[in-house]
Amino acid sequence: MLQMSWLIPLFPLLSFILLVVFRKSSNENTAWIGVLLTGASFVLSFGAWLAVWQGDGIKVEGTWFQLGERAITMGYEVNPLNALMLVIVSLVSLLVHLYSKGYMHGDERFSVFFAYLGLFSFAMLGLVLSPNLLQLYMFWELVGLGSFLLIGFYYFKPEAKAAAKKAFVMTRIGDVGLFIGMVLLFWQVGSFEYDEIFSAIKNGELSQSMLTLTAICIFVGAIGKSGQLPLHTWLPDAMEGPTPVSALIHAATMVAAGVYLVAAMYPLFQASETALTVVAVVGGVTAIFAASIGLMQKDIKRVLAYSTVSQLGYMMLALGASGYVAGIFHLTTHAFFKALLFLAAGSVIHAVHTQNIEEMGGLWKKLNITGPLFLIGALAISGIPLLSGFFSKDEILMSTYADGKYGLFWIAVIAAFMTAFYMFRLFFLVFTGKPRGSQKGVHESPSVMTLPMIVLGVLAVVAGYLNTPWFGTFLTDYLSQGPVELLHADHHGPVWIPFVATAVALLGIGLAYMIYQKGSVSRDWLTRTFPGLSHVIYNKWFVDEGYDRTVVKGTTGLSWLGVWFDKYVIEGLVAGVVSGVQALSRLGSEMQNGQVQSYGTFAIFGLVLLLLIAALSGGYFS
């Protein structure tokens, strides 16, 4: 099975090529091409995962091109970490393909959408399979391309255009960090191979400062891709894309690639305490920051988007706090419950044709499958015991505490409270209460859409049992076959942590219930109490505006400066030379005044001048 794993990304690629060829086909059965081929990928991935579970692994490489003495290689590798990722990616991709069959029904570029999904899946699976940094980087960018194309799928919408561009550019900023880190590592180690990099680190071939520098550079790449502070602003805007895209790319897979990157390069990070701290701090701050914005958003998808940013922050925090397993674990569970939430949100939007939660309400009955599934997702993300989110989040808190990062621990706890609050704010506003907008013709989505949600719903519940203190730490055992030395493999933090986590989650749910369901606390209580703060939060901490006023304005200003320089200085110099020559020319023809005697005078004058200069400078009379 493992020998065939190179086929995993190629199936979606084939799907992309076929669908581009058939892009004009109005027959929506083209979707099945995508579904079947992604399904094939999933089967292979699952097979690979099973093989790895049994302690197998594979790494195949060949020379891509020769750079002097060094061969730059390409190939594929299956190890515990990426086998898990393969399953997650191909599974979510398969489910989203299926879901989209219903969601995108009737769109005039139906086949193109599936083609793009295929392209993205290809890139994402390729990223995961990469055995070296260069190949990872290449797919890293291609994943960005897929994301870009899908965000801009509704190309005629100006918002989509802007969002697509923003996503590409913001992630590119991060990518450049990754690029620098990668290239620096290459000149230190002489290879892009993970294995060689890790063994070089182990042998102490790199100085501490170089380790920190490269690790942080690579982490910058992860920041960009995973929407961490300060490069998070593209992710909420990316919600302009069709909802299945948000589920696949901007919740479950691509944005998790940053976390995956840090995990894949974990030995590098482990070697530098500073880098780990940076990761943890960025993750923790992002977690609470994004959660705070999520509190006040009105767009259902944006709330989920900020929630994603926040949860990704959690994962980073885990990794930064040496909670390698915890990070991966949360990545896995988050992929399922967040994809579920997005698909459910998509189902809601599909039904009511709006994304504004103020215009929803009371949909529980009408959407009798979507509703409960959404609730499962919401409970899972809030960290209610027995659901997947509880176990993974618990693990994160535990490792943060065990790592001695108490400040970040409390931040994470507060973020968990906020998470529970805004998720249930969402739930109550959408599904309970009275309809606030017109809900004519609202009906449950077709089974092709609900089926994937149900699958994800199940996974959102059971995925947590991969790694529990109670039933066994399968994931930990599994991951410890990989190249990463697990430091806090079984950290048993204080027993009170799960209780605290559960308590804040319930508190959050309770508060949401009080405000949005029962109305016992006024909805504008927060706004009234802290008008300044809530204004800032409502406007997303003015980060976008801040960037606009500094970076964007600055760049544009520099550009105008350059245009000015080009036009007036450079071309001015040229014009100066030209007019100088012209002036000389005019002088020449002025002298040519038609008077033969003045010609003679000039000649004699010239001769005398010549003689004079010769006499004075020649040294004849000295």
Binding site: F65, Q66, F156, A164, K165, D175, V176
Partner: protein, 506 residues
């Protein structure tokens, strides 16, 4: 056959001139097709040359040498003869560029269908231009190189001045004078080297200049002289490349020349500058080149950033692409400044890659201009609806231009930066800012054209015709081929570049 192969290749476009001379100028249809056929013949010959080319050898291949001119000079040591030969030959580098020339010429000939008048003289000039370009890359001595270099100027002057847009004559003069400055400096440097060494042959010159300094001093070749020559060459080719601040001619040519000619200009002519820098600069004066590496790298980064910053706010897509060319040529300099395998390979890759990419983009802009009558970004938008293929290929071209992996642009940028990071990491890190800016301006321009709401007047526009799809797809395929399988190119280049690197000691 094979002894004459290269000469046949160089002069193969003349066959087209001969045939066209006998076609009446009103028979437009035959002229158009003969125009394309006339470029296919050089392409065929180039492919035969490629098959005769031994990729593993680092020797000059298919060389031809004939005595041409000889000057007899009386000096104190007796009569010395200064012979000039007709010497042509190819190494991996020139082979690649010849191939690029042949391919881009065919596609530009196809793109020339949008030319409106005087087909016959257009194609005759076009063939002369192609001959000049092939000759530049095949020449093995300075004299021949210079002659072909200048031969490219004259047809270009006419092609811009007669078939260009509104301000065509100004652009033609600007082209002529700037390039004239470059070739003026070049000629002085070439003649000076000739008079000092008595030879114009590349290999012999390289040998001479690598002699021990005591021997060189005897023939008045001092350190300062060599440095002066290198600087002269750098300036001359900086005009061609172009390097900021000598770039303004190139922008006006990009904007004013007919698209098919810009394909040639941006695709190949600019590359003569890079070719010259590599062959003469790094090849003949390695030590001096090494000591100037930082300056070259600095200019590379300035070019990269300057071009990118200016491209950000241009409102005409042609100007965006023009400044993008400035920016991308900076990468060539960056690669060269690195003086290592990665950097120089990256520079050459960038030469080829940018040749293909800019040919593609200008082809598309030409097709767009023909339909819309404008290339102002504000007047365009939403074209993805009526012209999905054009929009798609334009987007693909734009992505290639911003260095998306899987496309040739990535490989070249990657290698150039990889190279520079070894030698000057800080400069390189500053340069990577350009990668971000490139993404910004490329997407800005491409999305402004293809995305957004469609304007009313666009409703009549048609997508690329099947004749137009050929160049677009061929170029795109070539770009992706190099992006996915760079070894094909790097293997061909390596022997030639290794020779240069050996000289550089890197």
């Amino acid at each position: 056959m094979s002894t004459w192969l290269l000469s046949i290749l160089i002069f193969s476009p003349m066959l087209g001139v001969l045939v066209l001379a006998f076609v009446p100028s009103h028979d437009e249809k035959s002229i158009k097709w003969l125009g394309i056929l006339g470029t296919l013949f050089p392409l065929g010959t180039a492919l035969i040359t490629l098959s005769a080319f031994d990729m593993s050898s680092d020797k000059l291949q298919l060389a031809e040498t004939y005595r041409w001119i000889s000057y007899e000079v009386f000096q104190s040591k007796g009569e010395v003869s200064y012979p000039i030969f007709y010497e042509v030959g190819v190494n991996g580098l020139s082979m690649v560029l010849i191939l690029l020339t042949a391919v881009v010429s065919v596609l530009a000939a196809v793109a020339s269908f949008s030319i409106k008048k005087n087909w016959k003289s257009y194609f005759i000039l076009f063939f002369l231009l192609e001959m000049g370009m092939l000759g530049v890359f095949a020449a093995q001595n300075l004299f021949l190189f210079f002659i072909f270099f200048e031969i490219t100027l004259i047809p270009m002057f006419f092609l811009i001045g007669r078939w260009g847009y509104v301000e065509r004559e100004k652009a033609a003069y600007s082209f002529l004078i700037y390039n004239g400055v470059g070739s003026a400096i070049l000629l002085i440097a070439f003649v000076s080297m000739f008079m000092k060494t008595g030879t114009m042959n590349f290999e012999k010159l390289t040998e001479t200049f690598s002699l021990p300094q005591e021997e060189l001093n005897a023939v008045f070749i001092t350190d300062g002289y060599m440095m002066g020559m290198l600087i002269a060459l750098l300036i001359a080719f900086a005009v061609k490349l172009p390097v900021v601040p000598l770039h303004s001619w190139m922008v006006s040519v990009h904007v004013q020349a007919p698209p098919a000619i810009v394909m040639i200009h941006s695709g190949i002519l600019l590359k003569i500058g890079a070719y010259g820098l590599i062959t003469f600069g790094a090849g003949m004066f390695p030590e001096e080149f090494r000591s100037l590496a930082f300056v070259i790298g600095l200019f590379g980064v300035i070019n990269l950033l300057y071009g990118a910053f200016l491209a950000l706010t241009q409102t005409d897509v042609k100007r965006v692409l023009a400044y993008s060319s400035v920016s991308h040529m900076g990468i060539v300099l960056i690669g060269l400044a690195a003086l290592n395998e990665a950097g120089i390979t990256g520079a050459v890759f960038q030469v080829v890659s940018h040749g293909l990419i800019s040919a593609l983009l200008f082809f598309l802009v030409g097709a767009l201009y023909e339909r819309a009558g404008t290339s102002e970004l504000n007047d365009l938008g939403g074209l993805a609806k009526r012209m999905p293929i054009l929009a798609g290929v334009l987007l693909a071209g734009g992505l290639a231009s911003l260095g998306l992996p899987g496309m040739s642009g990535f490989i070249s940028e990657f290698m150039a930066f990889l190279g520079l990071f070894e030698k000057m990491p800080i400069l390189a890190a500053v340069g990577t800012l350009g990668l971000i800016l490139t993404a910004v301006y490329v997407l800005r321009a491409v999305l402004a054209i293809t995305f957004g709401t469609e304007k009313e007047q666009h409703e009549t526009y048609t997508d690329l015709t099947s004749a137009e799809r050929v160049p677009a797809f061929v170029l795109l395929a070539a770009i992706m081929f190099i992006g996915i399988y760079p070894a094909w190119l790097s293997d061909m280049l390596r022997p030639a570049l290794d020779v240069i690197l050996l000289g550089l000691g890197g």
